[in-house]
């Protein structure tokens, strides 16, 4: 890592740590920013680097959210009884119970989506192009509807999450920190992953999967693993988001296919897919625009975001980093000699 890169990383880290102290009332919004970064980074593994455009990655987010909630509650109470009461039951967790439950819940929220991704990959990753996109979208919508109809996990009523112990304001700060750490861990992991053979193999699958097969590349292995890595970080993101919101519900919070599910694609395309920093830049811009439109264009915010997506997809497909790479190939290691 060059000195300039180090400086950039440290500056971002410092800004990340300072943000909730400078603007304490905005901690939750800032945490959502880190979740957006996670969305874009994880979507780009399969959608950008591997060329499999998933419209259903939100599945793993919702799955992680629900799995974590069920573990946290199930450890100390009967789940069916708790959900049947529609939030009338309030469990008083001790600090220790709460944090142990959260830790176990997070572990399960990372693991279960990985297993589901591995199983789904056998069916869905055999599909290509638009068929994969529609297939994944179908699975995400089905998951939302199934959860909505499943009374054991609260159905459409949702689940009230355990109350965070500690002073008011601490909950926001705690989950802000957790989301930031998750996003940075994901970034560092991918930074390493993209320096290994893994990256070239999934890029080869993107460019010409048949040729990769003809060369003997273990394509099924790489494809499944790429999706499992997405699922791992999305599961954690979902678990943190659910706890931060304090209330888990299938259609708007856990499996919001039309908002978060599409945002993750839009952010990556905006920043430039198939790059490490593209998703981060895309998430930052998209998040900022979203906040601005929500504040100044209320009622028209989806029109504005929709316009942005249309312009991006029609006129600016390569995204910001893709555009920069075409303009300044030397910055990206290309040698035109």
């Amino acid at each position: 890592m060059s000195a300039r890169q180090k400086l950039l990383h440290l500056a971002l880290l410092a800004a990340g740590i300072a943000a909730p102290f400078v603007f304490p009332s905005h901690s939750v919004q800032f945490a959502v920013f880190w979740v957006f970064v996670l969305f874009a980074l994880t979507w780009d593994i399969v959608g950008g680097h591997m060329g499999y455009n998933s419209l259903g990655n939100i599945l793993f987010f919702g799955l992680g959210m629900y799995v974590c909630a069920l573990v946290q509650i199930g450890l100390v109470y009967d789940i069916a009884e708790y959900t049947a009461a529609n939030g009338a039951i309030r469990i008083d967790f001790t600090d220790r119970q709460y944090f142990e439950g959260l830790a176990l819940g997070l572990a399960a929220a990372a693991l279960v989506p990985v297993i589901v991704a591995a199983l789904l990959s056998r069916i869905l990753l055999g599909l290509r192009g638009p068929y994969f996109a529609i297939g994944t979208l179908g699975v995400a919508i089905a998951a939302a509807e199934l959860t909505n109809a499943w009374d054991y996990v609260g159905g459409g009523q949702g689940i009230a999450m355990p109350v965070f112990p500690g002073a008011p304001g601490m909950r926001e700060r705690f989950f802000y920190g957790a989301c930031m750490i998750a996003a940075m861990a994901c970034y560092l992991f991918l930074r390493w992953l993209y320096s290994t053979r893994f990256r070239l193999a999934i890029n080869a699958i993107r460019d010409d999967e048949d040729k990769a097969e003809a060369l003997g590349v273990h394509t099924a292995r790489y494809k499944a693993l790429a999706w499992c890595i997405s699922a791992f970080f999305l599961g954690i993101a979902g678990a943190l988001f659910g706890n931060m919101t304090g209330f888990v519900e299938p259609l708007e919070t856990a499996y919001p296919t039309l908002t978060f599910g599409i945002f993750m694609v839009a952010m990556t395309l905006l920043g430039g897919k198939g790059t490490l920093w593209g998703p981060v830049i895309g998430a930052t811009l998209f998040y900022t625009l979203r906040e601005v439109t929500w504040t100044y264009l209320l009622g028209w915010q989806y029109v504005a975001l929709g316009l942005l997506i249309i312009v991006n997809v029609v006129y600016f497909q390569q995204g910001i980093l893709g555009w920069l790479r075409a303009r300044r190939p030397r910055w990206f290691g290309a040698d035109a000699s």
């Binding site: 010409d208 590349v217 290691g333 040698d335």
Partner: protein, 246 residues
């Protein structure tokens, strides 16, 4: 000693019989040619050998092992490579990356997925690019190369894979005539220096006469003639097939 043995291979697409009871041998360490008019079933035979589609009947053996029921990736890992008539390269990756991803995947384990490419492999990739004359372009994305250069890149990728047998589907098609001699020379060197058995589909008679020690000729899905290049060129049935008298 034959490295590939094909016996009575038939393949039909619906009602169209592309290969009918084709039998031929590819001897180890040599360059074998396959010629025939357009639509005579040469590329279909190649696709059958590398496992791209199942054959209807017959047997294909690689070093004595039956491979006609194996998939593309398994066969590739056994050391059989092909290049395509319509060149296939990884267009958004640079030339060195194209070669690195073409490394043999024979004994790849799960942990290998997360390794970096050691310096000596990068150097080998660069030497092979030098061999095909693409070293100055090594850091350009492959999609920006000309068609002829992409063919050379694909050839280098095949060599990087260290195959036992390399099937080349019209290696000189679309290549500038002045570059063809250089390519013939490289094919011969790949055969002599790297010890790779070559099995070549070619339309250019001058090329195949120059290259192959044994030539098979197909027509309408069947094997029409086989023999030394001179014998094939003199064979009246081959001449008729090319001129459309068949």
């Amino acid at each position: 000693m034959n490295v590939i043995e094909i016996r009575d291979v038939s393949k039909a697409f619906g009602g169209v019989v592309a290969n009918r009871a084709v039998s031929l041998d590819v001897p180890r360490g040599r360059i074998t040619g396959l010629i025939g008019p357009n639509g005579s079933g040469k590329t279909t035979l190649f696709s059958s050998i590398v496992g791209q589609h199942p054959i209807d009947s017959g047997s294909i053996r690689l070093e004595g092992r039956e491979i006609s029921r194996l998939g593309v990736q398994q066969i590739a890992r056994l050391g059989l490579q092909r290049t395509f008539q319509q060149t296939r390269i990884f267009s958004k990756m640079d030339c060195v990356q194209n070669l690195l991803v073409s490394l043999p995947h024979r004994e790849e384990r799960w942990t290998h997925m997360f390794r970096r490419y050691p310096r000596d492999l990068v150097e080998r990739a660069e030497r092979l690019l030098e061999f095909v004359g693409l070293y100055p372009k090594r850091r350009l994305v492959a999609g920006s190369l000309s068609f002829g250069q992409q063919k050379l890149l694909e050839f280098a990728m095949a060599l990087m894979n260290e195959p036992k047998v390399l099937l080349l589907d019209e290696p000189t098609a679309g290549i500038n005539p002045t570059l063809i001699n250089g390519l013939i020379d490289r094919l011969k060197r790949a055969n002599a220096e790297f010890g790779i058995t070559l099995f070549v589909i070619e339309h250019n008679m001058r090329v195949i006469m120059n290259l192959a020690s044994h030539v098979y000729c197909m027509s309408r899905g069947e094997l029409l003639a086989s023999g030394s290049p001179e014998a094939i060129r003199a064979d009246q049935r081959v001449v008729d097939a090319y001129l459309g008298a068949h």
